[in-house]
Amino acid sequence: MASNSAFNEGFLTTRVDVVLNWARSNSLMPMPMGLACCAIEMMAFAGPKYDAARFGSEAMRFSPRQADLMIVAGWVSYKMAHAVRRVWDQMADPKWCIAMGACASTGGMHRCYGVVQGCDNFLPVDVYVAGCPPRPEAVVHALMDIQEKIRNEYSVAQDYVDGSQLPASQDPGTGLLGQTP
């Protein structure tokens, strides 16, 4: 493993990474999977008082093909879980997921047969937001957390290792401290 190759965490790739991550984090297009009461707070989050548009999330894209951030807002029932998963699969990489509210994170107050106890049983969640429903400021904070997470990603650097391209999610790649597998 040539750890000093031109494509592996050199100056060029990290600068490209910075630009790429800056672009990605400031133009997140949320796909609101608004299921229940948290959807109302998500609408308030997109509304005039707590404006999501100033973070770049101007367009709430309801089509998964055009979105990169899925906000699961509300409890996921077992019947709906397959639809949510299918929508998630249709989203293109890179994609992130916010579990908004107690119900999406852990099932919330609904500890019963119809509710999946947390959408992380079938979705890879990046940020969990607590609250029932969370105030729109909490959702803004979650959005900013996702932005920070994106800014710290190694997108390009891991894509090109010894000339082979692997998507960042599947590449064992190098660890955060530069260890080789």
């Binding site: 077992y78 949510v84 699969d89 119809g114």
Partner: protein, 238 residues
């Protein structure tokens, strides 16, 4: 003077609520119909309708009219419910069906009850008709022929309790998917559901369906949707 000074002094009033503690949660067996209920409304007090019902259907209508909080409930034989509903709709002007619901009494005999909530705009009255269903014979004639609004409500009773409505045009489950094989509202169904009764989507697009979203609770490893990078410190002591 501190601003919370009036908070320091207790504002307790002497009153009847400070008597010696009585245990109030011992259930009183029979509700007392003669105690005046503040919420009793004239819309649910309908002796003339009950009398007309008794006159028309002497064998179908039970003699006991349950009365509580000013509400009268008429118990009807299961086989005659369609006729009773038709009579109420056409002769007594109870044209609006507000609700149909099921109750699981969890007794050995006549386990289930189905209630029909009918409203008459003209008379400003609301009547509740109840049908007792035994667990051995779960078929109840459907009243969708009389009230079209009964369609979904009867489907919901079927879904939740398992009571079948004969001659219902479309008896499918209402809330749970058809693949589900239990009746959730029955008292013996656990509140958390039966693990494995509803499959969950897989953790990865190519994976298999999950039947057990809490493998950790059953002593298995939780499947993860990412792979942790191997740490070079693994296997070292401390």
């Amino acid at each position: 003077m501190r601003k919370d000074a009036d908070n320091v002094v207790p504002k307790v009033e002497e009153g009847p609520s400070h008597q010696a503690l009585k245990f109030f949660f011992t259930p009183v067996d029979e509700p007392k119909p003669d105690v005046e209920n503040h919420y009793a409304k004239s819309t649910t007090h309908l002796p003339e309708v009950v009398a007309a019902l008794r006159e028309q259907f002497p064998d179908a209508v039970d003699e006991n009219i349950h009365e509580y909080a000013g509400e009268q409930t008429v118990f009807v034989d299961k086989a005659h419910i369609v006729d009773v509903c038709r009579f109420l709709k056409e002769e007594q002007s109870f044209v609006y069906l507000s609700d149909i619901g099921g109750v699981d009494r969890f007794t050995d005999e006549d386990r289930f009850e189905v209630f029909y909530n009918l409203v008459s705009f003209e008379k400003r009255k609301r009547i509740r008709v109840k049908v007792r269903v035994d667990e051995e014979d779960l078929d109840v004639p459907s009243v969708t022929g009389v009230y079209r609004a009964a369609n979904w409500s009867e489907r919901e009773v079927f879904d939740m309790l398992g009571i079948r409505f004969t001659e219902h045009p479309d008896l499918r489950r209402m809330y749970m998917p058809e693949d589900f094989e239990y009746y959730p509202q029955r008292k013996e169904f656990p509140q958390l559901g039966i693990p494995g009764s509803l499959p969950l989507p897989p953790q990865t697009p190519e994976g298999e369906l999950q039947y057990d979203p809490f493998p950790a609770a059953h002593g298995r490893l939780t499947p993860k949707s990412y792979e942790e990078p191997v740490s070079k410190y693994d296997g070292e002591d401390d």
